[in-house]
């Protein structure tokens, strides 16, 4: 018997309260605090800040808790909140050369001014599950080299640039695009491409970056440098006539150095791929640098052969909030379209059968007579 689809409103509200109970889980277990997430799940927090493109550790932690650990959902919460915030202005470019460095490594020079500083990292650890890890055990105080927090550490690319081995930094553009305020149009400038990649899904960029290493638009990369630490953000205050510091953010910067044989336009020299993300995320910043370099094929007079070089393809599909929304919208009712398709298929089916019968009639005696 047909029961009209009524009660959507009640079903939705019931589903939401069921979900809230699932989020909390067993109430005998203490609930997660924001401080716990900020302090103990810092990579999750960093990813949510980066792809949510809003630097606020506590807000990211709140979103992670609300999203039950689903980071894309947490990023979505942050994005939907971020878009409601008023814009006071655009900050001045950050100076990563003045970074208070927590970690800095170069794969191109054994030693260099400022030194290699391993810092906190998963690298070189053995990935063995620590069954005995006691969350509340004392952690021995780490030993760290004495560094002058105010000393500026020159970037590897600046050292290489001094004797023209690497292409210079692009000239500063007066107008920087903002794809959260203007629709993205193609071809997009490098400013918009980098903004898009910085907000892009880590997994998507990782796969694309990886594909360039496997020969799809190979560009022979070296990690010139990865540095992670705090940089100062400042805003040029029109009324005051000078820059006002707003605070510090932690970022990870990756400068990829890529071979380049030279072209009609440029001499043989190393070229750059650039990655910069909020928080500590080397995987994302490295992937971003690989993809950034691949996307520069036109400017460097290279040939386009692979997906990672395809600006429309990469930029249109990098955003995981857009992607997950559209993929998951397939859950919505499509009765009407499906009915339209069903009707078409039935018609074509019927016609197919008629045609088949018609040819049979021509070649055979009628079936009824034969039987």
């Amino acid at each position: 018997m047909y029961v009209a689809v009524k009660g959507g409103e009640k079903a939705i509200s019931n589903a939401h309260s069921l979900f809230a109970a699932k989020r909390r889980g067993n109430t005998d277990v203490p609930g997660l605090t924001i401080e716990q997430i900020v302090n103990q799940l810092s990579f999750a927090v960093d990813r949510v800040m980066g792809e949510g493109s809003l630097y606020d550790r506590e807000l990211a932690a709140i979103a992670i808790r609300q999203a039950q650990g689903d980071l894309i959902e947490a990023i979505f919460l942050i994005r939907a909140y971020r878009t409601t915030l008023p814009r006071f202005g655009y900050s001045a470019p950050i100076e990563t050369g003045e970074m208070r460095i927590d970690r800095r490594i170069s794969a191109t020079f054994k030693d260099l001014p400022g030194g290699q500083l391993l810092g906190p990292t998963f690298d070189y650890s053995h990935r063995l599950i620590d069954f005995a890890l006691d969350a509340d055990a004392e952690v021995p105080a780490p030993e760290q080299a004495e560094t002058d927090p105010l000393a500026s550490v020159p970037r590897v690319t600046d050292l290489l640039g001094a004797d023209g081995m690497i292409e210079p930094d692009p000239a500063e553009e007066s107008e920087i695009g903002d794809l959260t305020r203007e629709p993205l149009e193609f071809p997009a400038g490098r400013d918009l491409r980098l903004q898009n990649l910085a907000r892009g899904d880590e997994g998507f960029l990782l796969a694309l970056g990886y594909s360039t290493q496997r020969g799809y638009a190979r560009s022979h990369p070296f990690v010139g440098e990865i540095r992670m630490g705090a940089v100062e953000v400042s805003l040029f205050a029109e009324e005051l006539g000078f820059e006002v510091p707003l605070g510090r953010v932690t970022v990870t910067e990756c400068q990829m150095i890529n071979q380049f044989k030279g072209s009609m336009k440029a001499p043989p020299q190393f070229t750059r791929g650039y990655g910069l993300v909020f928080g500590h995320s080397e995987r994302k910043s490295m992937s971003m640098a690989l993809v950034d370099r691949a996307l520069r094929w036109k400017e460097l007079g290279e040939e386009q052969t692979a997906a990672a070089q395809d600006e429309e393809f990469v930029l249109s599909h990098s955003d995981n909030i857009q992607a997950s929304g559209f993929v998951e919208h397939l859950k919505l009712p499509h009765y009407v379209d499906f009915q339209a398709e069903l009707d078409l298929i039935r018609t074509m089916h019927r016609e197919h059968a008629e045609r088949l019968n018609a040819t049979e009639d021509d070649t055979e005696t009628p079936r009824e007579a034969a039987e």
Binding site: Y2, T180, E185, H329, V336, D337, Q339, E341, L344
Partner: protein
């Protein structure tokens, strides 16, 4: 932001959620769309608190045009009570507090996904479509840079070739929804994934038709009484879905768009109006279909 400013109190949102500056930006895009019927206007689509692909474009358009005096109707698949229609209606109830209705004639703004109401719309109504892929040429040419050029040059040969190939291969134009239309003889337009059954309703409609695609960041429009012609060939004229000898099992309506309802696992099925308000209004007027009597008995 510190923790103590993040109380559980929801922040006070502007009327209809979007800030006035954003609304102005969207209205500018809408006005441009109205000035160039069928042309896709890029706009700086905002992140909405609902997922992309779930009606964010339509919601932004509705939020930009709705005022406190308006009466809103939200439908999905023709029905006011499908889950996503309910969610969108609740959103505007919370953020705008405007009057809500399920009656087509009472609404001043109707947001829809996949259908146009059966009842004829009037010149004091606005119909807002939710659009997933605004580009009618997208499945023939995936690149936006190319399709924009094709529109600029009215280069629609590819679309006609596709329709021709359909006929050559299947004997039919194998597009049953999102069937492309020509607007005022200039732009080929995607009518959103409405069944082609609804295409003729768009032609010279008295109401203003607005189309919002949030993820793809496009708005387009059909001002009232715009010429909207479904693409076809002289020897293969456009035709709409038709269910011969079928009437709505609930209200007995014919020549409407039907939902097919499967009744059992033995091939039993019946057809009911996709437009639930239209169906209920007919029943209230005393029109009944074959299943209705049976349905009433079972309910009592």
């Amino acid at each position: 932001m510190s923790l103590d400013t993040l109380s559980s109190e929801p922040p006070a949102y502007n009327f209809a959620y979007l800030d006035e500056q954003t609304k102005r930006m969207i209205r500018r895009a809408i006005l441009k769309g109205i000035a160039i019927p069928g042309y896709q206007v890029p706009f700086a689509s905002r992140e909405m608190p609902m997922p992309y692909g779930w009606g964010t474009g339509g919601m932004q358009v509705t939020a930009a045009v709705i005022g406190p005096e308006d009466t809103l109707k939200v439908i999905d698949q023709g029905s006011d009570d499908t889950t996503n229609a309910v969610a969108i209606r609740r959103f505007f109830d919370r953020t705008a507090g405007v009057a809500m209705t399920t009656h087509t004639a009472e609404a001043t703004v109707i947001q829809t996904r996949h259908r146009i109401p059966e009842e004829k719309l009037t010149d004091n109504q606005v119909l807002v479509f939710q659009v997933p892929i605004p580009e009618p040429l997208r499945f023939l040419e995936p690149r936006e840079t190319e399709t924009r050029k094709m529109h600029a040059l009215s280069e629609y040969g590819l679309m006609h070739v596709k329709l021709y190939e359909d006929i050559a291969r299947h004997g039919h134009i194998a597009t049953s929804y999102a069937y492309p239309v020509m607007v005022e003889g200039r732009y080929v337009m995607d009518p959103s994934p409405t069944p082609k059954f609804d295409n003729p309703k768009m032609h010279k409609m008295a109401a203003l038709q607005l189309f919002g695609a949030g993820r793809e960041k496009r708005i387009y429009a059909l001002p009232p009484h715009t010429e909207v012609v479904s693409l076809d060939f002289e020897d293969h004229p456009f035709s709409v879905q038709d269910w011969p000898d079928t009437a709505c099992a609930m209200c007995g309506a014919e020549q409407v768009y039907f939902d097919e309802v499967i009744l059992d696992d033995k091939g039993g099925r019946m057809f009911v109006c996709s437009d639930s308000d239209y169906c209920e209004a007919r029943q209230a007027e005393g029109h009944f279909g074959a299943a209705h009597a049976h349905h009433q008995e079972a309910a009592e």
